[in-house]
């Protein structure tokens, strides 16, 4: 390490974790505080706007402690500001002091930002939509998610004590609004299959086989209803023939 880098190392180590790392020698405390507070405020702001429910659920002091631990220990790998909240989600996932439902809530809150800013290309669609015999096309900016907790219901008034598998389809519509749809487990599996490029009928037939349903046509009818409903909500845009 070069001499000036040794100084830099002491400087940033102090900014990150002032309790465990003294400031470099002969540096004015008031000026040092400008940097400590500047880094804290920047990161607090960049990370916090994305997580209003997390903050409310854990409370101000606990949230502050999370941000301080994040600064002290996390090695943020992205120079892109929009990805700072993702850095916090990554940090929380590995953080032993954070409860599982908060980790998942943080992920859920980050999803809105991620889907809102996801780069996409305009999909090709058939002129006539055929959700069963062609491949249904999902809104290009989307995430299909499974959580262990009902993340969309968590708040300061509701901290889940028991796990409950929750499936969500989160997508951006043509007006750039991010929408959340709660799915039942079968609809979740159906969308997973469609993402792999199956036609509506192929996916639903396989689904009926998987669950050994006595009447596969009932599953196809059910699934067709789900797809039509998703299309009304702009979550499915149409279909294309593979």
């Amino acid at each position: 390490m070069l001499d000036f880098q040794q100084y830099q190392h002491a400087f940033t180590a102090h900014i990150r974790d002032p309790e465990n790392n003294p400031k470099p020698n002969n540096v004015d405390e008031e000026r040092m505080a400008v940097y400590r507070e500047g880094v804290y405020n920047n990161i607090f702001e960049a990370a916090s706007v994305c997580f209003p429910v997390c903050q409310e659920t854990v409370g101000t002091n606990y949230w502050d402690a999370i941000i301080r631990r994040f600064i002290a220990t996390h090695h943020a790998s992205s120079p892109i500001f929009r990805e700072v909240p993702k850095e916090l989600v990554t940090f929380l996932e590995a953080d032993t002091e954070t409860s599982d439902y908060i980790k998942q809530l943080a992920h859920y809150e980050w999803v809105e930002l991620a889907v809102g800013g996801m780069p996409t290309e305009t999909p090709t669609l058939s002129k006539e939509t055929d959700l069963l015999n062609e491949v249904p096309v999902l809104a290009p900016a989307h995430m299909l998610l499974q959580y262990d907790y009902p993340v969309q219901k968590i708040s300061a008034q509701f901290r889940p004590e028991q796990q409950k598998t929750t499936h969500l389809f989160v997508f951006r519509n043509a007006e750039f609004e991010v929408n959340f749809i709660e799915l039942n487990p079968m609809a979740y599996v159906l969308l997973k299959m469609l993402k792999e490029g199956m036609t509506g009928k192929q996916a639903l037939t396989e689904l009926a086989e998987q669950i050994q349903h006595p009447e596969p046509q009932a599953i196809i009818d059910f699934g067709y209803g789900v797809l039509q409903n998703l299309m009304q909500q702009q979550a499915v845009l149409g279909s294309y023939s593979s």
Partner: protein, 299 residues
Amino acid sequence: MSRLTDINGVGLGLKRELIPQIQHHFQQKTPDDLISNIDFIEIAPENWIGAGGKYAKQLAWFVERYPIACHGLCLSLGGPDPLNTKFLKQVKQFLSVNKIPLYTEHLSYCSDFYQNKPGYLYDLLPIPFTEEAVHYVADRIKQTQDILGQRIAVENASFYIKPPIATMDELTFLNAILAEADCWLHLDINNIYVNSVNFGFDASVFLKGVPVERIVYSHVAGHYLQKSDLLIDTHGADVSDPVWSLLAEAYALFGAFPTLLERDINIPPLDILMKEVDTIASLQAGAADVKQRTNSVAA
């Protein structure tokens, strides 16, 4: 395709809050009187790289209407961790796709190598002014220019601490780096003033010592007075009188050069902000144009 010579006149740093207001003052591709003095727009690549949806649409709108300069915040030219070449390749792609002719960065660092791992701290930290640091930073600028295939400009940053291990003053450091890396200067007038108060030097002397032939454009911004000898470079207030005087002095010394208003927080409505844009335009109109600068930068 914008060229470097299109980065001229008066610029405005783009903030999300301003986008709908600016768009409102456009009839098709023509701006109305209120915003007619905006000649170019500056964006931070870290806010726009990889952004889709409405952000991509907004960016495309500006790319169609304005020459754009990219002013980066996270390249960490003085950082102890390896230069992020993956990010630089994204920057290169971004500049190319959006026809952006210029990329500038700060003479500072925003990342570290804590516990032997690279990590971003997302703030502009002070590089110790030493001989070793000059070579180190100049090498990283050269590496950046090699990857991008174009010359960059570096900005004199604002500081609150002069590392006690420093062996030279800021102006000597700045000039040594510009010469060794052979890059342009993104001259921040507010930062000269902020540092002159924070470290007790004469801003005019600093100004007279910068290499005019390397100035590609300049910044003005507002700061916050924390104490009589401590200014914080917040970009959150109106441009102060001493900074306007210093800009006027620079134009008198060197002739007018392109200048951009930065306002990042406490952003007033566009019609109020435009008064400062108009002030830059009127200062430029009253100053001579300097052929020496435009010729060398355009070359």
